[in-house]
């Protein structure tokens, strides 16, 4: 199911090494491996969300309770989260999100394009530090470094997984 299980396993290992124990997610095919791994891991709380901003509030609660959380979403979900980002920023809490990009590389669905194009700028404007992984060999290290940045410096960090890295969704098979 997953195109690059090796790098995605590396990303999951990086989250574990960063002591992340709660993962909120709105599903995306590009995150499928991470979501399956989270559900299979008895030491991970995997929380399916109805909308992405729930994951920011979940992460805030995890931090208040002494745990670390991450939010998995796709770029279309970033637009749903903007006001809720005031929570970690105002409370000087860490926030880590892994964003699978749509609308930028071989995209079939035009409805994904506007939010995909706006995603890095919108996150930066909202006060989130943005990193981008384009190559599979870079992704685990990018997540490890971003988790350290988020949790040790108590800031908000988004890692964008480029659509080229994930592979464009195939609509017509």
């Amino acid at each position: 199911m997953t195109a690059h299980p090796t790098w995605q396993a590396g990303v999951y290992a990086a989250l574990k090494a960063a002591r992340v124990t709660q993962i909120g997610y709105v599903p995306d095919a590009g995150h499928a491996h991470l979501i399956e791994a989270a559900h299979a891991d008895p030491d991970m709380q995997a929380v399916v969300l109805t909308t992405e901003e729930e994951g920011i509030a979940l992460a805030a609660g995890a931090w208040l309770g002494g745990q670390r959380a991450a939010l998995l979403m796709q770029s279309s979900g970033v637009g749903n989260t903007i006001n809720m980002l005031s929570l970690p920023l105002n409370c000087r809490m860490p926030f880590l999100t892994l964003v699978t990009m749509r609308g930028e590389w071989g995209e079939f669905n035009p409805w994904q394009v506007p939010m995909g194009a706006a995603t890095p700028g919108v996150l930066k404007e909202a006060g989130v530090h943005v990193r981008r992984a384009d190559r599979p060999e870079d992704a685990p290290e990018m997540v490890a470094a971003s988790a350290a940045l988020a949790f040790d410096s108590q800031i908000a960090v988004a890692v964008l997984f480029s659509q080229r890295l994930i592979g464009a969704k195939v609509f017509v098979k």
Binding site: T50, E54, A60, G61, G65, Q67, L87, C91
Partner: protein, 195 residues
């Protein structure tokens, strides 16, 4: 003219009753009057007051409840805040954290912005919504005897409760609003500040 779901309970009396002898309850309050009510009942380091992040109160409660399974977590919020986070009722039901309860102070109004009618004043029954989302235990309180019963249930059950309060506005009680301070003191009180 009385609106659907409109109540008569005094919100300050309701919250003072729910939080009487709070013990080691961990509390999250939704923005607006719920935050003022919780502050007026007595400021404590393990009160986490929201002044924004509308719609996030219940999810913050879930994050705390998952992280602290041996502690009781109580979310106290208003109908407008709960409506904005209405999807989180399904998310919380799916997790079914046994140590988490939600109490909605329902005045059928957006009280902070001029008392405009909210959806609960136009027919939405939040307890029924919660039940349909999968909450096994839901309750509605319309008088203080019922509030007394809910005080105990909210500390022992995964309960979603609606308290039908009067739309009357109360004098503002303004608890601390520096989010970094509130977060830090909450974590220190829990002993997780170095986690």
């Amino acid at each position: 003219m009385s609106l659907p779901n409109e109540g008569t309970l005094d919100r300050r009396e309701v919250v003072a009753t729910l939080l009487r002898d709070p013990g080691d309850l961990l509390i999250v309050s939704g923005l607006g009057a719920a935050t003022y009510d919780v502050g007026a009942a007595g400021d404590r380091p393990t009160n986490f007051y929201l002044w924004g992040a509308m719609g996030g109160a219940a999810m913050i409660g879930l994050g705390i409840a998952l992280a602290q399974p041996r502690r009781r977590v109580l979310v106290i919020t208003g109908d407008g805040e709960m409506l904005m986070g209405i999807g989180s009722l399904a998310t919380l039901a799916a997790q079914a954290a046994p140590n988490l309860a939600v109490a909605v102070l329902d005045n059928t109004r957006f009280g902070e912005t001029g008392s405009q009618r909210s959806h609960t004043g136009l027919g939405t029954d939040l307890a029924a919504v919660a039940a349909a989302c999968g909450w096994q235990q839901t309750a509605i309180a319309r008088d203080m005897a019922e509030v007394e019963l809910l005080r105990d249930r909210l500390r022992s059950e995964p309960l979603f409760a609606v308290l039908r309060i009067s739309p009357e506005e109360k004098p503002r009680f303004l608890p601390p609003r520096d989010g970094a301070y509130l977060s830090d003191r909450f974590r220190r009180a829990l002993g997780v500040a170095e986690a």
